[in-house]
Symmetry: C2
Subunit: 329 residues, 2 copies
């Protein structure tokens, strides 16, 4: 019973242009890894956090412990876990850092417990990590991190997560200018009311985006990646946003918008060649601005959270699938 | 050159639950018919309006004349037409009555002129009929009336009309309780501002509806047919709305909402058997309330505006395709 597994849950892009609070998709390669094993007691112990060591190891303060607790509570179970977190998604990047950890945590615990829940059912437990991290139990990052692909959170009451169809040859290029945007700031500046007229144009674009994804109409996807509500307000917090977007569009992007609440920026494209061209443009642009940055190229990750290594002390056997890291030079 | 054609353009259901001002679909069988021929002068003459004879025959006052004028203007052409209108869609029904006439008018003129425009290009001319009729150049009725199927008006600037995928076995049951709802009233009572929170739930439902239509997921279509913005306000103008909706849902409808700005009510269902059951329930319900009503059952009309008869005085030939009227007994 002393099985240890290593799991990976991807970083994610939430909002996706007009789809504020409802749409999200999963990236490849970049994501958090957790090594988790069950213990013989009922304690959750976070032994180590690699990467961002100032995050709390107290399981009551870390989204990993909080999300697993939510899962155990539903099962009415006292079970201990030993956890090492390999944090690769930078907190505050706008790439679903806390969601990646929360998703990996509940996914690992579920596998070790013999899969009492489906991946879809795990979303609500991972959301408790989001509640702890941001004050609101968002699902738009944890859903794609767990399920992979392009997801829609249609409703929270009841929770209704839909996996959307999307074209195979779609790529995302993401740039993370490494400046801090306080999520609280990016939330506070949003208005609580919007004009009906602007709201109508927003759901017209959401409808166009979902239709374009379903039919593989890249041109429609591009035309629909307009956000008249959030982008105009939040983009002012991101240095160089307008210029970066201009660079992406000039390099052939279908559209370009803010990832999550920023500061990361994503662009969608048809095919990897264009995605690379956009990456190069982002790279050059932020280098010239002298702003530290990271650039990622990724197709849409179709599988979400996954086991990358199993070590079983009973058999001594070990399966391993290495997760490669892909970065632009 | 003295060809006369008879065209049909279907009645339509606009808004479709959460898709206020952007979604619409075409019905079968019910729609307006126009008999149109070109004249040797530059006058547009409306000879007769069958069905609703109090509508204006002055082409400058009738959407038919106004829409054709918009088309001719784009071609920089002075061409006369003689028109007989067979009006089958009751004005003020919420079933796109003026749109049906406008769509039929521009479609007929375009055919007689040798198809200088595609059906999609005709939308903007038919919209001028809508502008004259309601004060706003809406496209959510004229687009499905011209193109058929399920349409999205993603944007007005520039105009972007998208034909959506939808499942074959989907049926609409429509009840038109014959009470007058002034469109001006139904517009005035809408608030100009909505809360961001409610707007988010609305575009979540729009996304779910489009995704469900694309993947043929009837259950998702049903869950997404929620409208938290318009229905709560406008439904109070429709006598018996809550009861009618309850009847539809109890009869197996996927969802039920207001058609256009009402008073017609539509329900969607999987398969004709359920659609008939809903029709019977609507029928019984409004009979008991002693409110005059009409009930229609229709699958989604895939083709939109069409020629039903061509008479050519040169050859004396005549092709005729009769449009049947389908009504619940």
């Amino acid at each position: 019973m002393n099985k240890s597994i290593k799991v990976f849950a991807p970083a994610t892009v939430a909002n996706v242009g007009p789809g504020f609070d409802v749409l999200g998709f999963a990236l490849n390669d970049i994501g958090d890894e957790l090594e988790v094993s069950m213990t013989s007691d009922d304690k959750i112990r976070i032994n180590k956090i690699e990467g961002y060591e100032d995050l709390p190891t107290d399981p009551g303060q870390n989204v990993v412990g909080i999300a697993i607790r939510a899962l155990l509570q539903e099962l009415n179970l006292d079970q201990g876990f030993e956890i090492t977190i390999k944090k690769r998604v930078m907190p505050g990047s706008g790439l679903g850092s806390s969601a990646s950890s929360s998703a990996a945590a509940v996914y690992a615990a579920n596998v070790l417990l013999g899969n009492p829940f489906s991946k879809r059912e795990l979303v609500k437990f991972a959301m408790e990590g989001e509640r702890a991290s941001s004050g609101k139990a968002h699902a738009d990052n944890v859903a794609p991190s767990l399920l992979g692909g392009f997801t829609l959170v249609r409703s929270y009451g009841p929770l209704d997560v839909v996996s959307l169809q999307y074209p195979k040859n779609m790529f995302a290029t993401v740039v993370h200018p490494q400046i801090e945007v306080k999520t609280a700031d990016s939330k506070r500046i949003l208005k609580k009311e919007v004009s009906l007229e602007v709201a109508i144009s927003q759901w017209g674009n959401v409808a166009g985006l979902v239709a374009g994804l379903a039919s593989g109409d890249f041109d429609l996807i591009g035309r629909s990646l307009e956000d008249h509500i959030i982008e105009p307000v939040r983009s002012v917090l991101i240095p160089g946003y307008a210029g970066a977007k201009h660079q992406a569009m000039a390099s052939g992007a279908l559209g370009c918008s803010i990832s999550g609440s920023g500061p990361s920026i994503f662009a969608l494209s048809e095919g990897k060649t264009t995605a690379k061209k956009i990456a190069k443009a982002f790279e050059g642009y932020y280098s010239e601005l002298n702003i530290d940055h990271r650039v990622y190229i990724s197709d849409i990750n179709p599988e979400g959270a996954k086991v990358v290594k199993v070590s079983d002390s009973v058999t001594g056997g070990s399966r391993k699938t290495e997760v490669r890291s892909r970065k632009v030079q």
